[in-house]
């Protein structure tokens, strides 16, 4: 289903056409050139590509990193559709897929790297493709779960009457998907994709240059450029990389996400007529007659494909239906439960047999240390950013200006800033046990700020006027008005921030500058160490313990808080 066109204009080629045409061609050219570079130039496994720190190479590196990001995004989207659809459509699949997704969301993505890098290198022996795939997979794991969850939720919350309508009016599976389900989940999907994509830069930077099993692997790109700059103690190069990154984030935001958000906005389920969101790229696209021309040319064949797919997925009316059997359901449950128990037992046995119980205790203690850092980070970010966020949110003009900025900060990979922080730590002799809190906060704090601004914006003006008129001020104003009304947003932000912080600990608890390496006592450093030397039992143990920490915290802290926010502090 294409963009629904505006009334077709009969104008001749215009400046808009020139812009759209040239832009599209340029994009195709860059993609083709960069793509051929990364996929055709095979290297023997022992020859690791070197990174040149000459800033003139940066556009090329940036393009290669970007391509990886978009391939990962495409894969995440496909995965989202398949997985989300299966979970929402089949009751049995749902029982396995949804809890699994919950766990996958909590597993530290960077802990996977060692596993996947080894696996993919073995799969594509003798070429860079293995590393390429491992990096893309790392980004994928950072994006896919969130998007899948959003899609699944949207599918589950399609209004009941619309579903009944689709059934009664005999929509084929294809029609149901393209006319009902995809459009109604589009907004959530785009927003989640955008946030996940922003988070993806972090994993890209971490995965392009990684030491696994005592070997340093490097993949040409922005992330490996920064890694090389750090190894060479070249602060200028780091600076150039940061500038490139900022430009890249801005470009992708303007040319890809903003247009998508603008388009998705038309797929609101509410029928209320509001002002339509506008954006210059979309306006340009609509003003140009080239796209309309293409639509006219492709229209008939697209229609034919649509009809063909619809026919192939037709639901025969009054066909014999399979009856769900309760016994089979129960058998399925039992099989699932047994398989899960067996897998758990195998993992526990593997870890215990190779490292022993004492090591488990050690890792758990380290987990507590990292957990304490996450808590400290949340407390400090809250103290610092909540008042600022509220102040921004209460000024509509300021909020409009700063919200996209904060969003860009959030997608800027914090690991690009690590070298500067590391230098400061070395200069002033700050131990990384404390310093790592700052490093983790560099990435995570923005989610908190972002959400608090949003929450403050949502406080109705009347409530604030009421507070002023009855003389509510200072602590009492925070206690009775601001605190309760931004609580929900704060919880949402804190959940994201804490998830990000756990993940970041793997790169934040061990940092280096040239030959100097700083290390903190924590589970993140433990996993990073184990990954570097390829100590499988400890990798499994570390990742497992971290997952347990995250899942447990989610269930005993965040979910109840979220429920509380939904029931008690809902501004409606």
């Amino acid at each position: 289903m294409g963009l629904r066109g505006e009334p077709e204009s009969r104008r001749a080629f215009s400046a808009a056409d020139l812009a759209v045409g040239l832009g599209t061609l340029l994009l195709l050219y860059v993609a083709a050139r960069v793509g051929s570079e990364s996929f055709v130039r095979f290297s023997p496994p022992d020859v690791i590509p070197t990174i040149s720190l000459d800033p003139r190479n940066l556009p090329n590196y940036a393009a290669r990193s970007t391509l990886r990001m978009f391939i990962a995004l495409a894969l995440s989207t496909i995965f989202t559709f398949v997985y989300g659809y299966a979970a929402a459509r089949s009751r049995r699949a749902e029982k396995v897929l949804v809890p699994l997704l919950d766990i996958l969301q909590s597993v530290p993505v960077l802990g996977f790297l060692s596993v996947t890098v080894t696996l993919f290198i073995a799969m594509f022996r003798g070429s860079l493709l293995g590393l390429e795939a491992a990096s893309i997979f790392a980004i994928f794991t950072g994006q896919a779960w969130n998007m899948t969850f959003s899609f699944y939720q949207s599918l589950r919350t399609v209004p009941h009457e619309l579903n009944e309508m689709a059934t009664l009016y005999g929509l084929s599976k294809w029609e149901r998907f393209t006319r009902l389900e995809l459009p109604s989940s589009l907004i959530g999907l785009v927003w989640n994709g955008m946030m996940s994509f922003g988070g993806g830069w972090f994993f890209l930077a971490a995965s392009e240059s990684i030491s696994v099993l005592n070997r340093q692997y490097t993949l040409p790109g922005l992330g490996s450029y920064v890694a090389s700059a750090i190894a060479a103690r070249d602060l200028h190069a780091v600076g150039w990389a940061i500038v490139t990154m900022v430009v890249l984030v801005l470009l992708i935001d303007q040319l890809f996400w903003k247009p998508l958000v603008t388009i998705a906005d038309r797929y609101k389920l509410e029928l209320s007529a509001g002002e339509e969101r506008r954006f210059w790229v979309v306006d340009l696209w609509r003003a140009a007659s080239l796209p309309a021309l293409f639509e006219r040319m492709l229209g008939p064949s697209l229609h034919a494909v649509d009809r063909l797919l619809s026919h192939a997925t037709r639901i025969e009316p009054q066909a014999e239906r399979r009856v769900r059997s309760k016994a089979a359901d129960r058998a399925f449950d039992v099989v699932v439960a047994i398989s899960v128990l067996m897998m758990l037992a195998a993992a526990v046995r593997f870890v215990l047999a190779s490292v022993g119980l004492a090591e488990v205790g050690h890792a758990a203690l380290l987990g507590l240390a990292t957990g304490a850092r996450v808590v400290a980070l949340l407390v400090f970010s809250t103290i610092v950013w909540t008042p600022i966020g509220v102040a921004i949110g209460f000024h509509p003009k300021l909020a409009r200006l700063s919200q996209p900025l904060v969003q860009i900060f959030a997608s800027f990979p914090a690991n690009f800033l690590f070298p500067f922080a590391t230098l400061v730590f070395i200069r002033f002799g700050i131990h990384l046990n404390w310093g790592s809190i700052l490093l983790m906060a560099l990435g995570a704090q923005w989610y908190l700020l972002f959400n608090v601004i949003g929450g403050a914006q949502a406080v109705p003006n009347e409530l604030r006027e009421m507070a002023t008129s009855i003389g509510l001020r200072g602590v009492r104003k925070w206690k009775f008005l601001i605190g309760p009304s931004i609580f929900g947003s704060w919880v949402t932000g804190a959940i994201t921030a804490s998830g990000g912080a756990w993940n970041a600990s793997i790169v934040a608890e061990i940092v280096s500058w040239g030959n100097t390496t700083l290390k903190a006592a924590g589970l993140g450093a433990y996993i990073a160490d184990a990954t570097a030397i390829g100590d499988w039992p400890r990798i499994v143990l570390g990742v497992g313990i971290m997952s347990i920490f995250v899942v447990t915290l989610n269930h005993i802290v965040w979910k109840p808080l979220y429920r509380l926010a939904q029931t008690r502090f809902q501004l409606s």
């Binding site: 009664l168 005999g170 038309r266 029928l271 009809r307 009054q318």
Partner: protein, 444 residues
Amino acid sequence: MTPATSLITAEQVSKTFPLSAGGEQTVLETVSLTVAPGEVVALLGRSGSGKSTLLRILAGLITPSTGSVTRHGVALRGPNPDVAMVFQSFALLPWLTVQENAELGLTARGVPKEFAEKEAMHALQMVGLEGFEGAYPKELSGGMRQRVGFARAFVMKPDVLMMDEPFSALDVLTAENLRGEISDLWEKGSFPSRSILLVTHNIEEAILLADRIVILGTNPGRIRGEVRVDIARPRDKNGVRFRALVDHVYTVMTNPEAVVEEVPAATAKPRKRFPMLPHARSGGISGLLEIIHDRGGREDLPRLANDLQLEIDDLLPAIDASALLGFASVAEGDVIITDIGKEFATTGVHRSHEIFKEQVLSRVPLTAIVVRMIEQKRDGRIGKEFLLDILDEHFSNEEAEKQFQTLIDWGRYAQLFEYDADEERLYSAEPEEDASERDPAPKA
């Protein structure tokens, strides 16, 4: 009527849903219904009478727990291809144009594009939407949106056009207007379906449109009876026969329920130990009684509803509650205030609380039970969960919550107990003067 001449037939259909507290709730109990060619049938009932469930069973959207549904004498499996439905909330796809929405069912059938377009245009003309083909639903008013819903159903040329409260999401005037147009179309004989099955809680709507009205009772949903509407079309809403029928149906709709609930707890059947509390707030009850008192103590229900611009569903809870508490009685479509009701409506605030308390205690066994439970608890407090657990045995989760809310409202007004929403606990709120004789437990 033989099955062969009927379009849809439901025989001995029941539907139960499992309750989360264990056990199950019966939404429909042994219901049989036939839709014959050329007739308009209205399913009339209050919320909770299972009328929408019955409609969906006949449409093949829900499978009945027991009993059978046939179409043209053949057992129904899955969505019924002979029907099209008009939904309460329109169920339009906001991202498709009016035209595309109207075509949706036809294109799904795989008919040629041109044919679908022509048919959709024709249907849109019928509902007066020419010129709006390219508009999106959000650009239309509520009434026009529902017209698109009708056009989409018309295009299918179904045997039975099903309407699920099609006018209830519209404002009064728009609903009136559209209802009239649908009625006109039917009378002209050019209606694109053979029969109509209408679900509604609006009595006048049923009488205006239907050939026969099937009245459903609540808890569990069942057919209480049928009223034939033998008024020639076009029907005049102010005609003598029309008004008489309205009164008659009102009486049927209001009376038996009130009678069931007036039976004292001791003699009632075990599962009716907790009669369903109408979801009326104390303020609403006294407000209604004041209005009735101002109008001379007796008022025709339809006229009252009309004057207040309310639907029957909005008004009935307060009337039922008044009847349950002995403040009013209902007879022949009229509501009549009782002596105690009159006193309640006219006296001062303090006395009105007292009257309410007496009536609640004597007529709503559940409140007396709660008061006793609070007295017997050492700390004088009982949890919401505890009460919900008891209510869950008799009502669905959702209904139990509603019952609880109503109970709290009445209890507070009667100053029988207080409720702390943070702690989710009920505690005693007895006025000081009776505290000594009725509350042996030390106050917490």
